[in-house]
Symmetry: C2
């Protein structure tokens, strides 16, 4: 395989020297781009995930249009529950819904064993098409939901405010919760290994709902399985990023999962986190995504403040503290990327 031309992102993940701070944005292949909406107009979201050419097309868009330093394969964390046999319906205004959520042993027995090479072949095919289109310009990131976050969706069945069903499960039937989490973890391991084998240069594990748990429950029901997954990965030098939104505590224990990069949401003080764990992992983040609603002067000011908080030297991958919002002006996203590229040189002398 020929080398990646712009490998700033990978070097920063490994805390190797870089000339400037690399930047990409969570959900960068998304609705804020008119070019994305153009593709989406003719295909529903799941069809886009399942059609390698479409997934590849929107994956590459932000590289071409916004100039990010890494691509992240367009997909959805819910492809795993789908591969496990759950019927996913996209209901306009309600978002993704599983009409038959998993609530008890009988429901759990209905879940299928997953053969990633077969059941998720469309993802691996999308990686192949994307790699060709990227032509080694920038690295390609593959991702998966963390088992806890996947379980939350599988048990709730739809968006939730209080997460009553999944909480009932962990309180009243922790045995089943752990069995399901273990089963999901095995699928995630196969899935991420297949992604790496297919050409992904890094992987990110999203734990969107880690922060709804108390601290001890997070370590028991989420962190334990993230650790298991990372231990199960077969990789050469592909970095692993863990982003657990709302998990602000016991960061040394958090990074003991074996991640190379810790993703931070915008409520974290990235400078303080660096002081605590920056000698062991790189940090990714953490501008409030809503800053992209602001005037350019403010975007520059707030972005600079994140960079200065991190401070000099490598190990910082600039990103938003959560996914880019669907209604921000694309020119603001482009402005942010250009600004980071220019303004970060001073911090890497």
């Amino acid at each position: 395989m020929s080398p990646i031309k712009n490998d700033l992102f990978l070097r920063a993940c490994r805390r190797e020297r870089t000339e400037r701070t690399p930047i990409w944005m969570m959900r960068q292949a998304g609705r804020y781009l008119p070019e994305y909406r153009e593709v989406r107009k003719n295909s529903d979201f799941i069809t886009m995930c399942k059609t390698p050419e479409l997934a590849a097309e929107v994956t590459v868009q932000p590289v071409d249009l916004i100039g990010v330093d890494a691509a992240i394969l367009f997909s959805d964390i819910l492809v795993i529950p789908m591969a496990m046999g759950m019927d996913l319906q996209m209901i306009e205004s309600k978002g993704p819904v599983f009409p038959k959520p998993i609530r008890n042993e009988a429901d759990a027995k209905e879940l299928k064993k997953v053969d990633v090479q077969k059941d998720l072949k469309y993802v691996l095919d999308a990686i192949e098409v994307t790699k060709k289109a990227l032509d080694n310009r920038v690295p390609l990131i593959g991702f998966s939901g963390a088992p806890w976050t996947l379980l939350t969706y599988m048990v709730e069945g739809k968006g939730s405010k209080n997460f009553a069903e999944v909480k009932k499960l962990i309180y009243n039937n922790p045995k089943l919760a752990h069995e399901l989490l273990d089963q999901i973890s095995d699928v995630v391991i196969d899935y991420l290994n297949a992604k790496i084998e297919a050409g992904c240069n890094a992987v990110q594990i999203f734990d969107t709902w880690g922060g709804i748990l108390s601290q001890s429950e997070f370590f028991e029901f989420s962190h334990h399985y993230i650790t298991k997954i990372i231990a199960g990965l077969k990789r050469t030098d592909e970095p692993v990023i863990v982003f657990a939104k709302g998990v602000f505590y016991k960061l040394k224990r958090v990074i003991s999962c074996g991640c190379d990069v810790l993703g931070l949401d915008w409520t974290m003080d990235i400078g303080r986190v660096r002081t605590r764990v920056g000698d062991r992992v790189a940090l990714q983040g953490n501008l409030d995504p809503s800053v992209l609603y602001a005037d350019k002067k403010i975007i520059a000011e707030k972005a600079l403040s994140v960079m200065q908080s991190y401070g000099e030297g490598t190990g910082h991958i600039f990103n938003l503290g959560h996914g880019i919002l669907p209604d921000v002006p694309p020119e603001n996203a482009k402005f942010l990327v250009d600004f980071i590229k220019e303004a970060s040189y001073d911090l890497h002398r």
Copy 2:
């Protein structure tokens, strides 16, 4: 005024010796109680807030039915924007909506100066009726939203996922944001002073949306005004509780607002927080509200774990880490209260 018979809550707020840990629950006058739903059946939510007899009735219910150690006056944080002239509509399934939100200087000019004794007389009357009904059995807590949380509702106009409008305001027009926050703070000062004068034995400031801000923005747009409010209170010995959901950082600076009690959501480690600031303030919290969905054995286990994390001695007011959920079984709430009353004696020898 004759003394409060059960003043455990007040003593714990002041970190004076208590025989056991006091307990009350945020939103304890609420929908989980069939007796509350009975009252609510005949009156909409705003009418309940505005009718002193109804507000008093549901305020006293959890004292009689659940046995909590403090009552909190049934009301809504949005009575302040209403008093400022904003039209509030309760739309079923959407919650409270301000059809004319505040977005610019012209909108802000429409806001009225508030005369608490006149415009919010119904709250003060409700306190009078409630005090009579309580007959000094337990203390009565009065509350207000924090200016930041009130501003969020006033600017968004309705429930929001990304808080785009209020974020645009603080980024693009911080001057107007600060003017509004200052104006709201003045109303909150008058409002809480009137509540104390009318007989409230403690006040709680709820900053439900403090946690959507980055750390520096929290101190600039929220904490600054909470501090101003507490400095403006005329009180004898009424404790002030500050509950800022999602604010997990710089706790010494957080409590420099002058609060007597810091409320904690369930993602906090109450024992660690005590180590850091427990010599200066009492702590309130912090059981995950969804634990009340669980079997009684688990409720006892998780509640004990919160108490043990806090440890021995006074200064802990047991509470949930957020409001009680509308669909928990009332018998579970009663079980929790009974359990805390019994199990906490050992920690207060």
